[in-house]
Assembly symmetry: C2
Homo-oligomer: 208 residues x 2
DNA sequence: TGTTTTTTTGACTGATCGGTCACAAATTAT
DNA sequence: ATAATTTGTGACCGATCAGTCAAAAAAACA
């Protein structure tokens, strides 16, 4: 993992910390909207150090996307697939609750935390994926993770009488609702709209 | 509407034509990703003419958004509210068919026409609405139009036993699915995923 | 104490950015 | 004609863009 002794002048920064700061800026401003000077300011590093350690702007963006996948996407996936605590995971309607919790988290990000940045994955899909194939690949991979996690949650809904293909269909439908809500959130839509989008989606999951 | 005689040198361009070209570029590249030189190339006008006729880049963007609202959004709204022909509007399940047709149109834009630009409204919501209040207002207004149109379609579903508030909820849920599918389309998602998102959403509309 | 290796630093580059402007061109009004 | 008014044109502006580089600094070696 790490060299015990490293020759040469040691780095003054933690790679993960810098990447987190870089991700934040790209998240807030997008790829084109972010200048290298923004990253210099946010990271406290000089331009030369950034280029030396991470490569050019595009590479940095891709690494920020990967970091997002490892942190934020992983959190959502863990929530959906029941690998993290706090959501009554043992309840009989665990799958339903997990999906409800994720959609509620999208709403809370806006209404509680005032976070208008939305989802970096969604942002990247909209403004960079069609223009850059490496970004497209990264986004696609993260989307597949989320789809599988939704599928896992759907399958954890007892009495959800559904064929295998219907489970997949439902997962993809929920994926779509999730990103739609992210878009609505960024547009400044009132909480009531997102609440309805959420409960409208959940309604179809309750055959009880 | 128009002056019969206009003093001074007459314009060589049609305002609507130029606006359509401008909209196309912003649609494809986004606000930050579009340079004035791109617009000069696309419109055939010189920079000075563009500034003289439409104002600065931001104003031009807002006018392109308004143009999108008057053309593309209006088409979707007309389709949903049954004001345009071609979709068996007299059938007993007219509302259902209209919604299905709109979601299918999102898929066809990608699979038939190879159009990866998505929806300018969605793009604007994601990358400009949080940063510019005028853009946010424009996006919000268009979103409200679409919500009302979805609501009209939902209410045109016979046997859709639902309270008033449930109709609204369903409309907002569909709005969310619609934008989610737009995001998936831009991410390069295969048609199968969007098909499932669509049919998953439609399933909840068929209490038959 | 040097030598070597790596990182930090900030000045520097050419290109491009959004935006302006003076002047030529085209039309109506007199 | 000629004056008045508007539009088209392209050179021009300072600012900022992404990216580079040589030299200083900080560490491990010898």
């Amino acid at each position: 993992m790490s060299e015990v002794t490293a020759i040469g002048r040691p780095r003054k920064f933690e790679e993960q910390t810098v990447l987190a700061a870089v991700m934040d800026i790209f998240w807030e401003k997008g790829f084109e909207g972010t200048a290298m000077s923004d990253l210099v300011e946010a990271t406290g590093l000089q331009k030369g150090s950034l280029y030396g350690a991470f490569g050019d702007k595009r590479t940095l963006y891709l690494k920020a996307l990967a970091f997002y996948d490892e942190t934020e996407v992983a959190l959502a996936v863990d929530l959906l697939s029941g690998k993290c605590g706090g959501y009554e995971l043992e309840a009989p309607d665990a799958g339903y609750l997990r999906i409800a919790a994720l959609l509620q988290a999208v709403i809370d990000a806006v209404s509680v935390k005032g976070d208008r940045r939305g989802c970096l994955l969604c942002n990247a899909a909209v403004d960079q994926a069609p223009l850059d194939s490496a970004t497209e690949r990264s986004v696609t991979a993260s989307l597949e993770c989320m789809e599988e996690a939704f599928l896992e949650a759907v399958r954890a809904i007892p009495d959800f009488v559904a064929s295998v293909s219907e489970g997949r269909r439902t997962a993809r439908h929920l994926l779509s609702v999730y990103f739609g809500m992210r878009v609505l959130a960024k547009s400044g839509a009132p909480v009531a709209i997102m609440d309805d989008a959420k409960s409208g989606a959940l309604k179809g999951l309750h055959p009880l």
